[in-house]
C-alpha cells in the first residue's frame, strides 16, 4: 500500500514539475520587474516564446481592475457643452495593451469578436453606475479617453515570427509601457490562436512594477506624513523664492 502511495506521489511530483516548467517557460518576458525611478519615462517590455507553426499568438498586458469616476459632457440648451452626468466605472483594467501579429491584424471585427478578447472582453465585464441610457456609446468615449492616455491600445502587426520550422515557430514583440503606468502587479497574457480562430491555449505571468529611489520617498512622504510633507513643500518653496531674490538683488534693476 505504502509503495503504491509513494509511486503515486512520485508520478504526481513529476507531472507537477513538468507542468510548472512548461508554464514558466512557455514564454519569457524581460525585464522581470520594472522600477519607476526619477527619470522613468515608460519602458519597453520584451515578450517571446514558441507556438505551433500553424497557430498565431496574441500578447496582452493587463492592469488590475480599477474603480474610476468620470464626468460626461453633453449639449445643453442647444448651445453649451457642459457636464450632464457623473458615472462610476467598475471592473475595467487600469491598463489594457494588446499586440497582434500580421495575420490577426486584418480580420473583420466580427471574426475578432469570436475570440471574446480585446475591448469586447472589457465591455462585457465593466459595470457603469448609474446605468447609462446607451452603455455602448459611453464605453466608446471611455475607450477614446484611455487610448489618448495610451493606457489602452490594440496594436496591429506588432508580433513577429522567426526560426519557423515544420513544428514550431518563435514569436517576439516589444510592448511599450506608457509613462502613466502606476506601480502594481500586471498580468501578461499570451493567447495561442488556431487558424480557425479558436483559443488553443492561454499562458500568463505577472509583471511587478515598483516605485524606487526618490519617487518612492516622495510618495511615502505624501501619503504617510502628509502634514509634514505639506509644510516642507511650503518651506522649500519659500526658501527657493528667497534664494532667487538674493541672487537677483545684487544685479540691480533693468536700468
Amino acid at each position: 500500500m505504502m509503495k503504491k502511495i509513494s509511486t503515486l506521489l512520485f508520478i504526481l511530483c513529476i507531472i507537477t514539475f513538468f507542468w510548472g516548467v512548461k508554464n514558466s517557460w512557455s514564454f519569457l518576458h524581460n525585464p522581470r520587474e520594472i522600477y519607476i525611478n526619477t527619470t522613468f519615462n515608460g519602458a519597453d517590455l520584451y515578450v517571446s516564446g514558441e507556438i505551433k507553426n500553424k497557430d498565431s499568438v496574441i500578447v496582452t498586458v493587463i492592469g488590475s481592475d480599477k474603480e474610476e469616476k468620470f464626468k460626461l459632457k453633453g449639449r445643453v440648451w442647444g448651445i453649451f457643452w457642459m457636464t450632464v452626468g457623473h458615472y462610476r466605472f467598475e471592473g475595467a483594467p487600469s491598463i489594457y495593451l494588446m499586440y497582434l501579429p500580421k495575420e490577426l491584424s486584418h480580420i473583420s471585427i466580427k471574426q475578432f469578436d469570436q475570440l471574446n478578447l480585446g475591448y469586447k472582453e472589457i465591455y462585457n465585464k465593466v459595470k457603469i453606475s448609474p446605468a447609462p441610457k446607451n452603455k455602448k456609446e459611453l464605453f466608446n468615449e471611455f475607450l477614446k479617453l484611455k487610448q489618448k492616455d495610451r493606457l489602452y491600445g490594440i496594436y496591429k502587426d506588432k508580433v513577429e515570427y522567426s526560426n519557423i520550422n515544420s513544428e514550431i515557430k518563435k514569436y517576439h514583440t516589444v510592448i511599450k509601457l506608457p509613462s502613466k503606468i502606476l506601480p502594481g502587479i500586471y498580468t501578461i497574457k499570451v493567447y495561442e490562436v488556431s487558424p480557425d480562430l479558436r483559443l488553443v491555449k492561454v499562458d500568463r505571468d505577472n509583471l511587478n512594477i515598483k516605485l524606487t529611489g526618490f519617487p518612492a520617498f516622495i510618495s511615502n512622504m505624501a501619503y504617510n506624513h502628509s502634514l509634514l510633507y505639506g509644510i516642507l513643500a511650503v518651506i522649500i518653496a519659500i526658501l527657493a523664492g528667497v534664494f532667487m531674490g538674493m541672487v537677483f538683488k545684487d544685479r540691480g534693476g533693468a536700468h
Binding site: 525611478n37 457643452w81 519617487p215 511650503v234 518653496a237 523664492g241 528667497v242 532667487m244
Partner: protein, 307 residues
C-alpha cells in the same frame, strides 16, 4: 530629452518644457501681480497632469514665485502690507464661504455650468473694462490711474461715510478698513467658486475700487497671494495628497527666475500699459473658456476630480 517622473501625478514630463512653462508664468506673475493659476493649471492638464494635482502643485510653486516677486516689489517700495493683510483676512473668510457655496451649488445640480458661466462673465467684464479704460487713458496720454472725477461720486461719498477710516500710506489712499476687508471676502468667494487664486480679480478690484496705484497693486497682490497659496498647499497636501513636490520644484526653477525678470519688465512699463496687456491676456483666457463651452469636445468623457 530629459524626462522626470512625477510620483504624485503618476506621469513623467519633459523637464525643459515644465521649467519653460514656469519661466513664462513667473514673468506674468512678476509683471502683473497675478499668481498665474488661471493659465498654468489648464496648461499642466494639457501636458497630462491630473487636474487636482495640477491645481495643488501650482499653488505650491506660486508660494515660491510670489515670495520671489514680493521680495523684489518690497525692495521697490511696492508692497502695502496693511492693505494686503486686510485683503488677506477677507480672502480667507470669503474662501470658506465660497467652499460652502460650492457645496450648495453641487447639491442643487449643475455646479459646473454656474462655475463656467461665472468664469466667462467675470473674465469678460474685468478684461473688457480694463482694456477699454486703459486704451482711453493711453490715447489721452495719461500715465497713472485716473483719479475719480472732480465731482464726488456716490461711491466716494459712501467710502467717506464708513467707520474705521485709515491711512494707507504706500497706496496713497484713505478709506475705511472695512472696504478692503469686504472686497477681500468678495474676491475670496469668487476665487473659491472658480477654483483659482483670484489674482486676476483682485488686481482690478485694487485698481478700480480701492484706487491704488498700479505698481503698488502688483506688489500687494503678490504679498496676498503668497499667504493664500501657503494655506492652500498645506491643506491640499494634508487632506487630498495632491501636491506633487517634484512638479512644483520644476515649475519653481522657472517661475522664481521669471518673477524676478517680470518685476524688472513691469518697472519699465507704464501703469496703463500694464493694464492693457493684462486685460488682453484675461480676454484671451475668457475666449478660450467660451470656445470650450461652445465647441463640441473631441472626447465627451473626462476624469472627475476637483470641480
Amino acid at each position: 530629452m530629459l524626462y522626470m517622473y512625477l510620483p504624485i501625478a503618476g506621469n513623467s514630463v519633459n523637464v525643459l518644457l515644465i521649467v519653460g512653462l514656469g519661466v513664462f508664468v513667473g514673468l506674468l506673475s512678476g509683471i502683473f501681480g497675478v499668481g498665474g493659476g488661471f493659465l498654468m493649471t489648464p496648461l499642466l492638464i494639457m501636458f497630462g497632469i491630473p487636474p487636482t494635482v495640477a491645481a495643488a502643485s501650482d499653488s505650491n510653486q506660486i508660494v515660491g514665485a510670489s515670495t520671489s516677486g514680493t521680495l523684489a516689489h518690497y525692495r521697490l517700495g511696492n508692497v502695502d502690507i496693511k492693505m494686503g493683510m486686510l485683503l488677506l483676512i477677507g480672502g480667507v473668510i470669503g474662501g470658506d464661504i465660497g467652499v460652502h457655496v460650492i457645496k450648495i451649488l453641487k447639491a442643487l445640480g449643475n455646479a459646473d455650468f454656474l462655475i463656467n458661466i461665472t468664469y466667462v462673465v467675470m473674465l469678460g467684464f474685468v478684461g473688457g473694462y480694463m482694456f477699454i479704460e486703459s486704451l482711453q487713458s493711453l490715447k489721452g496720454g495719461s500715465v497713472q490711474t485716473k483719479p475719480a472725477s472732480s465731482k464726488e461720486s456716490l461711491y466716494v461719498k459712501l467710502m467717506k461715510s464708513l467707520p474705521f477710516q485709515t491711512d494707507f500710506q504706500k497706496s496713497g489712499v484713505r478709506m475705511s478698513a472695512l472696504v478692503p476687508l469686504f472686497l477681500g471676502v468678495f474676491v475670496g468667494i469668487l476665487a473659491a467658486i472658480m477654483g483659482v487664486g483670484g489674482g486676476f480679480i483682485m488686481v482690478p478690484v485694487m485698481v478700480y475700487l480701492l484706487r491704488m496705484p498700479m505698481h503698488v497693486v502688483v506688489g500687494t497682490s503678490l504679498f496676498q497671494i503668497l499667504f493664500t497659496c501657503i494655506n492652500v498647499t498645506i491643506m491640499q497636501a494634508y487632506s487630498n495628497h495632491t501636491v506633487d513636490f517634484v512638479l512644483a520644484v520644476l515649475l519653481l526653477l522657472g517661475s522664481t527666475i521669471g518673477a524676478q525678470f517680470g518685476t524688472r519688465i513691469g518697472k519699465n512699463l507704464k501703469g496703463d500699459q500694464l493694464k492693457i496687456i493684462l486685460a488682453s491676456i484675461v480676454l484671451l483666457v475668457m475666449l478660450k473658456m467660451l470656445y470650450g463651452l461652445l465647441a463640441r469636445p473631441d472626447i465627451l468623457l473626462s476624469y472627475a476630480g476637483g470641480h
